[in-house]
Each structure stands twice: as structure tokens, then as C-alpha cells.
Symmetry: C2
Subunit: 329 residues, 2 copies
């Protein structure tokens, strides 16, 4: 029996199925889209799980709702608090609204306006921080002490990971024959949940992470065999700038089969295909899975030669489009 | 027995069901999306039938495929020809490719580039015309004589109308409780098919057309009780500039319950909501149904007070987005 068999990960198929029962009435079962034109480009059959159509415009509502509904009444009486560049922030605001409790949201100054607007729309109370992870965490900690609110971390949390894992239950029910799933990676909450869910249902399935070259801490971590953080990040994919946590790292280390990194030019090219061919309005982080499947790093990897039915998780669709609207006026 | 009972319209539930069986293997069953935020804005429960996700990016493939597959071998041996501002053009090219015959496409010079690109992508042979209906028809007629190709009219054709009507079969299967459907109107092929299909399945259902103020020939026709054409049109909705034909007019006259007109500002506002809230990448014509349901003309109409579950057909998603991509470079 080797070491891996003894590891207990942060979530499992039981906690993921529990999460799905808990959040089912409050989330969308998002559709899976396909495109003959994109299949031809990729040389694979692609299945796009469109979490951009999820409530709040991203998958984050799954984990946030699971976390907020899991808490006892006395735990949440004073509200919830988090720090997030945007999509988890909006999701937690929405989940808190559902439960009738306040949500305190620490947002870095460089968050996209549309994501901040979503937080306001769902009634979250915004507290600004600097852009570094250190500042975000310090401000959240201060708010937590002052308000007595419960911290709901954006990814390093069992309830969050279990909630995000519900995507696998739906996707493998919608398209059981998928043999590989490509998942954006940032802090690792999404990919941990998806991996733990999918490999429990279908052990032969492969999971590939897609990461921006300008924030490739996960690829570096996997290569080094330990969590690597970066002094700074530089990518258009504003949702993919966080680093792995101690709950997500073991899943990435042991169960994620590979990490493909792509540059911002490839991400924009994939966004263009998503808007113009697939007709989905997505954010850069949401396009990275398509960018990965079209990259040479993926195409030239013999390990994926026999994987022909590829699930791609389009994680979210919150993008400032003012330049487009101004062009019509 | 009044006069209406004696009228036979261009399609019926039999021809529509036949069309669905014929085209089923070649089209997408498009998903229906919902949004709590848009429901709140409209004060109704909205169900968006997303034909922007259809093959070719618009509903047009339904009618075009039905027409091309309905023809006998000797009829289509020399190919098909049409004139279209874009979406029917691409759809006919795709349908012809399916059958291995040439498609000759007459396109007015002012068609959006992305629609012309779609025609090229699907292997259609492009012949340019001036922008008027007269020029489009004259050039198509000439091509028809020279090549021996069969004309497949974009809307004034029983097979086209039956094909577009398949949307109703799907929509009322997906959401049977819908009590009103809002449909963009141009030449009337889409709304005729949808109306004949929906009212056969559910006679109590109401059908409302949405039309741009700058091309309001259908509203004027309905008011005058005869087909009215306009000397010129002026609207951002490039897919909604055609006039009714003799096969579509009787349906609009007798069975379409009302026509709501909206201006270009309202169309752009609805587009913005579609991109930013619903996360679908659509063209102006595709947004007009949402614009109509949000208009005062609709809200203040007592006839729709009890219609609370509204189907909206998002007709297509082919829009030039270069201004957006340039902003990333």
C-alpha cells in the first residue's frame, strides 16, 4: 500500500453529492454546448460545460452556496466575510442574501468593474484592499475580528471544494463518455472538486489543468513537488492569479494528470473563438481551457492521443465590455 | 363559418413535424436559458430559446436544411441559390455542403463581415449585389438562369417556414407552461413557422412580433390590413430589414397577436443585458425580443397582463466584434 492510498483529501464523492442535494434548488444546471467548427480546429470532440450561464456568471455560486447553507444558525448570525477578485465575492453575496445574513467582501483595487458591480447587485458590503494576497488576507482578517463574521475562503475550504465538485456530477451525467476534462487552475478549489468528483465516478478519466504563463505557480508547484508562490503575477486572466492552498495542493499533486500553460495571446484567441463561434460571452479565465486544448503543448503530448472526448469547463463570463457598447453610440 | 377558417397557411403542424424528423440529426436542440436578474427587470418569467447556439450561429439552418433535404436529386443537381444579408446565406451554404451540391449566394454589399465569413467557411460561392431588395432579387434571378440552380428563398417558402417552426416543437417540449412567445420579425419566415407550430400545439398561446422602428413594415402592414413595403430602412438590426411575403403575410395578419416596435437604443440596451447578464454573444436582431418585453409598449398593454411565462427567441449571434479584440492588443 503506497502513501497515496492513505491520504484523505478535502472532499470526496459523499461530500460532493451532499453538496449537490443542498445547492440543487438554488443553482442552474448549466448546459453543455458543442461546435463542429471548434471540433475541427481541435481535432477532438469538445464539450463545453458553460458555467458562465451559472447564477452570478460563474461556477463560484456552487461552493459559496454550499458553504453558507452548511453553517449552523449561530455560526452565521453575524454574517460571512471573504476576499476575492470578484466571482467568489459576488457568489458569496448572493448566497448570503439567500440566507438573509450580511456579506462583507474584501476586494482588491484592480478587480474588474463588472465583478464589483455584481457584488453590489447582490447586496454585498465592499471593503477595498491592495492587490497583493497579503493585503487581501490582512484586511479580511481585520473585518472578521470587527464584525464577528465567519470567513468563507474562496478555495481552501472543504465546503467550497465539495460545491465546485458538483460540476462533475452534472457533466458526467450529461456526457458520460467524456475521457478528459480541462479545468482552469488558480487557487485550486474548482479543479480539486472537479477531480475528486470525476475520478470517483469514472476512475479512468484524465484531468488536465489550464494555467496562464504569467501566473504559473501551480505548474511550478507540480514540477517542484511543493507549493510554490510567486512574487507577482501578470496575466489578462484576472480570475487565475491566486496560489494553491494546503487543501487543494494534495489533489493537484496526486490526481491532476498534467498542467498546460498558455500565454495571454492564446487566451485572447480562444476568447475570440468562444464569442464568434460558440456565441458565449466569457471572461479570459473562462477561455483558458479552449486555449489549452488548442496549444501545441497539448496537441504534442502523446498521453492525450487516445482522449478524444474532451470536457472543457468555461468557468465564468464576467468581463467589462464598455468598449463594445461605446462603439454603438 | 368566417373567412379565416377556410384559409390554408403555408405550413402546418404536419409539415413542421416532418421537418423536425428530417433535420433533427443535423441541427442542435438549443438550450433554454433563464436569469433571475432579467426576470426581475421584466416583471415576468423569461425563457430564452438560444438559437445563437444553433449551427451557423442562427435559426436559419432549420429552414435551409429542411428545404435542401426536401428536394429531389434531379432538382438539386445544379445546386441552390439565394439572396440574404447573411444568416440564411451561411445556413444554405452549410445545408448544400451536407448534400454535396454547390450554393450560390447573392449578398448585399452592406452585409456584416462575420456573416460573409460564415458563408465562405461553409463553402458558399459569393456573388455581390447592391443593398436594395430589388437588386438582390435581380442578381439572384440572373445567377439562377446562368447556373440552373434552384432558388431557396430566405423566408417566402413553405419548406423554410416549416423548418423554422421546429423551434416551437422544442420550446414547448422544454417549457410547456409558456403562455406567450416573442419573435423577431423581418420577412416573416421565423414568426410564421413559430406561430403555426405553437398555436397548433397550444391554441391559447399568444405570439408577439418584435420589430425595429426603422424597418417597421410589418407593423404598418398589420395596421393597414395589406402588405406595406418601405422605400428604405434604417436600423442596427441588419437581419430585420426584409419585408413580408405573400406566404408569411396571412399568418402575421391572422395569427400574430401584436407587433411591438423598438428603437435602436432599446436594442443596444437589450444586447448589453444579453452579454452582461445572460452571457450570450448575440447580434442586434437577436436582442430585439428582450428589448420588446422591456418596452413600455409591452408593459402597458393590458392584453399581456396575465401572460407571465414568456418565451423569447434569440434568433442569432453573428456580430463583428473587432473593436473588442483590438482593445486587448
Amino acid at each position: 500500500m503506497d502513501e497515496k492510498d492513505q491520504i484523505t483529501y478535502a472532499a470526496d464523492i459523499v461530500s460532493i453529492k451532499e453538496a449537490h442535494r443542498r445547492i440543487g434548488p438554488y443553482i442552474h444546471r448549466t448546459p453543455v454546448l458543442t461546435s463542429g467548427s471548434l471540433d475541427s480546429l481541435a481535432g477532438k470532440q469538445l464539450f463545453f460545460k458553460c458555467e458562465c450561464f451559472q447564477k452570478g456568471g460563474a461556477f463560484k455560486i456552487r461552493g459559496a452556496t454550499n458553504a453558507v447553507l452548511s453553517l449552523e444558525d449561530d455560526q452565521v448570525a453575524k454574517g460571512v466575510v471573504t476576499h476575492s477578485s470578484g466571482n467568489h465575492a459576488a457568489a458569496l453575496s448572493l448566497a448570503a442574501k439567500l440566507r438573509g445574513i450580511p456579506a462583507y467582501i474584501v476586494i482588491p483595487k484592480n478587480a474588474p468593474k463588472c465583478k464589483v458591480d455584481n457584488v453590489k447587485r447582490y447586496g454585498g458590503q465592499i471593503i477595498w484592499s491592495e492587490t497583493t494576497v497579503q493585503s487581501r488576507e490582512a484586511v479580511a482578517s481585520k473585518v472578521q475580528q470587527e464584525t464577528g463574521a465567519v470567513l468563507v475562503h474562496p478555495f481552501n475550504d472543504k465546503r467550497i471544494i465539495s460545491g465546485q465538485g458538483t460540476i462533475s456530477l452534472e457533466l458526467l451525467e450529461q456526457i458520460p463518455e467524456i475521457d478528459l476534462i480541462i479545468v482552469p487552475i488558480s487557487g485550486g478549489g474548482l479543479i480539486s472538486g472537479v477531480t475528486l468528483g470525476a475520478k470517483a465516478i469514472k476512475p479512468s478519466i484524465r484531468i488536465v489543468a489550464a494555467e496562464p504563463k504569467g501566473a504559473d505557480d501551480a505548474a511550478q508547484s507540480k514540477a517542484a513537488g511543493r507549493i510554490v508562490t510567486l512574487p507577482h503575477t501578470n496575466t489578462i486572466a484576472d480570475g487565475l492569479r491566486a496560489f494553491l492552498g494546503d487543501l487543494t495542493w494534495p489533489v493537484v499533486r496526486d490526481l491532476v494528470d498534467d498542467i498546460i500553460t498558455v500565454d495571454d495571446r492564446e487566451i485572447v484567441e480562444a476568447m475570440k473563438l468562444c464569442y464568434e463561434i460558440l456565441k458565449v460571452a466569457i471572461e479570459p479565465s473562462g477561455a483558458i481551457g479552449l486555449a489549452a486544448v488548442l496549444s501545441n503543448q497539448f496537441r504534442n503530448n502523446a498521453a492525450w492521443k487516445n482522449c478524444n472526448k474532451v470536457g472543457i469547463i468555461i468557468s465564468g463570463g464576467n468581463l467589462d465590455l464598455n468598449v463594445l457598447w461605446e462603439s454603438f453610440s
